[in-house]
């Protein structure tokens, strides 16, 4: 009889389970705390958490430009601006990345300064 506390195979199973859990944590928390800050004319108009499931929305003060949050990314899905650069930028999700729509003076930036933040006031 094997008197070792753990058999090699058992240790392996436990390690695999731990790795699986870590992977799940990583997937679930990957975008937690990250937010898209939508500014109009340089002033913050909305702060949207990227942890949202999926959402299609517009922001007051920015007409005819629509954003979508999906899978932890944000992108502009339609805009009636002239150059459509905002749409061409595509999806962003990394801290510091941005989408700019010059004709509309709208910008979207990703910030993780909201990490552990429950609310922003002002």
């Amino acid at each position: 009889m094997n008197t070792r506390f753990l058999k090699l195979s058992e240790a392996l199973i436990i390690i695999i389970v731990i790795l699986l859990c870590l992977l799940i944590i990583f997937l679930r928390n990957g975008n937690n705390g990250k937010s898209a800050i939508i500014s109009i004319n340089g002033k913050t108009a909305a702060v949207i958490p990227l942890s949202k499931e999926s959402e299609h929305f517009s922001v007051k003060g920015a007409d005819n430009i629509f954003f979508t949050v999906h899978n932890g990314c944000i992108y502009v899905d339609s805009s009636d601006c002239t150059d459509k650069i905002c749409m061409k930028t595509g999806k962003i999700n990394k801290c510091g990345e941005s989408i700019i729509c010059l004709p509309k003076k709208v910008s979207v930036t990703i910030s993780d300064s909201t990490e552990n933040t429950d609310v922003i006031v002002g």
């Binding site: 058999k7 949202k52 007051k60 933040t117 429950d118 922003i120 006031v121």
Partner: protein, 323 residues
């Protein structure tokens, strides 16, 4: 021995999984989050109860109509026009609570100030300064004594108009708290940009973390850790207009009848009443740095204020960290 190992695995592995899974649960209430546009701002509602969120959202929409003094459909707008009306419980409650505060603290901020504040709202739209005589006339029709309440019947005398601006969001959050108290909700954050309700306790028991936005648009002034409370911020922020190169703030100083020229840029008040936090943040902002010291030592509320030179004025016992 085999049995022993087997049971060991059965117990340890699921325990490990459960503990790790629970770590990965978000610590804040994010599961029932929604955003609605009310009271000229985006209001985000996050609670741990779907039903509570729905009730709060519906109440906020009703209050949005009740407190609106600018839109044709607004109840406050209609009251200003009709001069006398039977009002909703929401509007009556707001008017009564705000008059109580102005009587207790200072009449520098009053709900009866509509004649002046709405005059400046108009100026902000047309970008034309009101005539001096207009401002003077408007100042004469300010005074909570010009509002007569009899049950739900409210009448306004002389030229008095109500402007709910300095009270509405805070009062609305008070009503939201009443709804949450009756619900199963244990933790919630309801944010109307400048006024916030932090409700209950976070699941991990930690304090709520609040970031105060820098009025110049660049990042944050600092973070505050607080337990459940109401907080409101007043400041120049984005709501100002420019005529002939001069910036006019959206907060009107009733002692002059002109937009406030406060040397403060941002004032946040933390307390256990929504309407008090909303009212006091405006009052302290208008008062400027020369009046701020007497507000910093109160037991009823805490203040984090900042002036034009970046100097901060923080109440004792407020867990504030500058950025």
């Amino acid at each position: 021995m085999f049995l022993k190992f087997f049971s060991f695995k059965i117990i340890v592995i699921p325990a490990l999984m459960i503990s790790l899974f629970s770590c990965s649960m978000p610590s804040e209430v994010k599961n029932n989050s929604s955003e609605i546009f009310v009271m000229d701002t985006m209001c985000s509602i996050s609670t741990d109860s779907k039903q509570a969120s729905a009730e709060v959202s519906s109440a906020l929409k009703d209050m949005n109509t009740a407190f609106d003094s600018c839109g044709e459909k607004g109840e406050a707008f209609r009251l200003n026009k009709k001069r006398s009306a039977k009002c909703s419980d929401y509007l009556c409650g707001l008017i009564n609570d705000s008059m109580r505060l102005s009587a207790a603290y200072s009449d520098n901020v009053e709900i009866s100030s509509g004649a002046v504040t709405l005059l400046w709202k108009e100026a902000g739209k047309s970008l034309k300064l009101p005539k001096q005589s207009e401002t003077k006339d408007a100042l004469a029709s300010i005074g909570d004594n010009l509002i007569c309440t009899d049950g739900n019947n409210i009448s306004l005398s002389d030229g008095c108009k109500i402007d709910t601006g300095a009270f509405a969001k805070g009062y609305a959050l008070d009503k939201c708290k009443d709804i949450l108290d009756k619900s199963k909700c244990k933790s919630a954050v309801i944010s109307m940009t400048s006024s916030v309700l932090l409700y209950g306790e976070k699941s991990d028991g930690s304090d709520f973390n609040v970031q105060i936005r820098n009025p110049d648009g660049n990042g944050f002034l600092g973070t505050v850790n607080v337990k459940s409370c109401f907080l409101s911020t007043s400041g120049g922020y984005e709501r100002f207009f420019t005529i002939d190169g001069k910036n006019y703030c959206h907060i009107i100083d009733l002692s002059t009848g002109y937009p406030s020229e406060s040397d403060l840029t941002s004032v946040t008040v933390f307390c256990q009443s929504g309407i008090l936090s909303d009212y006091l943040s405006t009052l302290i902002f208008i008062g400027g740095t020369k009046n701020i010291n007497r507000f910093l030592s109160s037991d009823d509320f805490k203040v984090a204020a900042f002036d034009k030179n970046g100097k901060s004025y923080i109440s004792r016992n407020l867990d504030f960290k500058a950025v």
